[in-house]
């Protein structure tokens, strides 16, 4: 099954390798991986999507927590989420063939972000299947796809944030901030 893990990790050299190495060791292929700054200074947020057996989830999460630089890990599993992916798609298109691409972009609620004599670039945000859909119809059309750049899955649980990151940070000053988050978690249980 497809697993999605959200991990808060210390923003230090080599941390990505440590996380990636764990999946490599388990011989698990990472489908997509996004890393960026989080709401916490000094912590990056990673979203890792991978294919593994249903039971593997526990072990991956437990092993991620054993990494010294990993602060919090959420196994999203089947929980309700808001999930998006961003894709930039460069398509070969001349002034003569552009209009067909324009139509598709309209239908998919994507955007043209660059227009050159021989090509144009589409920006598309959405769930994975929508992006796949656009790519498919583009492939069926006249304009050849020249390049695809996809961000990988970005995901967040719906409702109150349930991340244990504040608790994991454990700082006394943040103690008061922890409690509302925990109440939120209770509200949000599906």
């Amino acid at each position: 099954m497809l697993h999605t893990f959200v991990a808060y990790v210390e923003d230090l050299p080599g941390v990505l390798t440590r996380v990636a190495s764990l999946f490599r060791r388990l011989n698990i292929n990472i489908h997509s991986l996004t890393v960026g700054r989080s709401e916490q200074a000094g912590l990056s947020r990673m979203t890792v999507v991978c294919e593994a057996s249903a039971e593997a989830g526990h072990r991956i999460q437990a092993s991620l927590y054993k990494l010294e630089n990993v602060v919090d890990v959420d196994d999203i599993a089947q929980a309700p989420t808001v999930t998006r992916e961003l894709a930039l798609i460069k398509v070969a298109a001349t002034p003569r063939t552009r209009s067909q691409v324009f139509e598709l972009v309209e239908v998919f609620r994507a955007r043209i972000v660059d227009l050159a004599p021989e090509s144009l670039t589409i920006e598309m945000t959405g769930v994975e299947s929508k992006i796949e859909g656009l790519i498919q119809v583009l492939n069926e059309g006249e304009g050849r796809i020249l390049e695809i750049c996809r961000s990988g899955k970005l995901t967040m649980r719906r409702g109150h944030h349930t991340s244990g990151v504040l608790k994991a940070m454990g700082a006394g000053a943040d103690e008061s901030a922890v409690e509302p988050a925990e109440e939120g978690a209770a509200v949000e249980q599906e």
Binding site: P13, S21, Q61, A62, Y65, K66, D72, G170
Partner: protein
Amino acid sequence: MGNDANTQALNHPPARLTGAEIVWATLVGEGVTDVFGYPGGAILPVYDALRKFPIHHTLVRHEQGAAHMADGYSRASGKVGVAIATSGPGATNLVTGIATAMLDSIPIVCITGNVSSKVLGTDAFQEVDITGITLPVTKHNFLISRAEDIAPAIRYAFQIAKSARPGPVLVDITKDAQQATAIFDFEAAKPRPVRPHPMRKVEESGLAQAAELIKNANRPVILAGHGIIESGAMEQVCTLAERAQIPVALTLLGLGAFPASHPLNLGMMGMHGESWVNHAIQDADLLIACGMRFDDRVTGTVATYATNAKKIHIEVDPAEVNKIIKVDVPLIGDLREVLEALLPRISSRDGSAWLKTIDGLKGDSAVRDIKNLPDLGHLYAAHVIHDIWRITGGNAIVVTDVGQHQMWEAQYYHHERPRTLITSGGLGTMGFSLPAAIGAKFACPEKEVWVIVGDGGFQMTAGELATIVQEKIKINIAVINNGYLGMVRQWQEFFYEGNYESTPMVSPDFVKLADAHGIAGLTVRSRGEVAEAVNTARSAPGAFLLNFMVEGKESVYPMIPAGSALHEMIRRPGGKDPLEES
């Protein structure tokens, strides 16, 4: 030996020191008295500063030996062992030793020098990416390129090595960081508190369920592992076993965690465990796994493992729970703490019927009862180890290598106390024993230390004989010389039609080899000579080597072939004991 510069550094206001001095001052602050290492260009500043500090450095003959010594030191004492090496080949030579410590959860800290930070990543002379190489075989590692980061990194390394499930940590320090200066403030370098693993938790309901299962079990068995020793839970396990009258089976690394002579001790489980131990596990209706991880060497085929038993798993590492064997009640936490919470819920139980059943199985032993065997002039490893056990009163620290002799040691040397058997279980590293024994001797100078090693493994790290001489330490070495890579030969006999490809081994005369190092020795060829030889070795003032010329094609029985069920074991052919032949 150094002076008191370090204590000054610790007791006085923070002082400016070189990075190299900070390395030692931090180690002193962490309570280190002994380190094992080998110098080279990239670590020279550290070696140059050593004379100012009260730390004894043992010069090894190969950096693998340094890591194993740090490991043996830790296994014997429970303290963190420290190994030091230079960059490049020095660092890569540590890797086998680091992996050995990783697989057996042994806390060691390895410090390596690296090239200057200015040339890092340029393939400079003797540069190797040792933090990259050791990433999967350490709990954590550090690449340090500033003097001010050294003390915090080393202190953090000690904390990581010791905490939760222990393991090795490597600190790689560039040469310019060793040469630069920084303010050394031991207190300020203290790491943040350990972040507890959020999945490490013991629920009230789990404790209640465990107590209920124990109360109602008819055929319970405790599976006692290395975690008992790491956690210091010997007393708690013993109380549980005695109060609820539950028999105890041990893993290889668990030997010593529960006294061998205890009436509830069944012996070692797994591939070369006694048949009744494995049968008891297969027939059990409740397994209480304490600090063990269901290694494939103890489970046999997982699908057929103790299928009728409920399983309680008490384990500190959440990633080990439900990894191999699905358990009914996971209690994830420090073993001693969990047992202390569990014990008040356990009341005394009558276990006599089940114990009687197991006693019945005991008659069905495939391991020979050496004591009652006639002496027919043959020399068998079992004899040798039995005699060493008898003569040392079971009180020695025995450090084994890997192979048949290791299994015979486990079968015939009966360990009463923890930390008296030191052996590479998880990685099965040949060449481990001699250096690990040196480390153990440094940790416990007053203890009698024996190495039990095969002719093959001995030649992997025999260079450390010179270390023994240079350090003037007393270790007794028993080479179980069967002329073969015996354990591999045994597999060839059982599973490859006796095709002994590349397992017969020509060896030097080990007594002469010892002699060349200045170590006395004796070759022993018959059983009658064993006891006297063992006594000679023990009473010799210095290290002593005994070269036991044992039967070449003897096998370890019983044996569960890899991939078979725990009860499907290979017995001695014809059920006849070869000791009774001729």
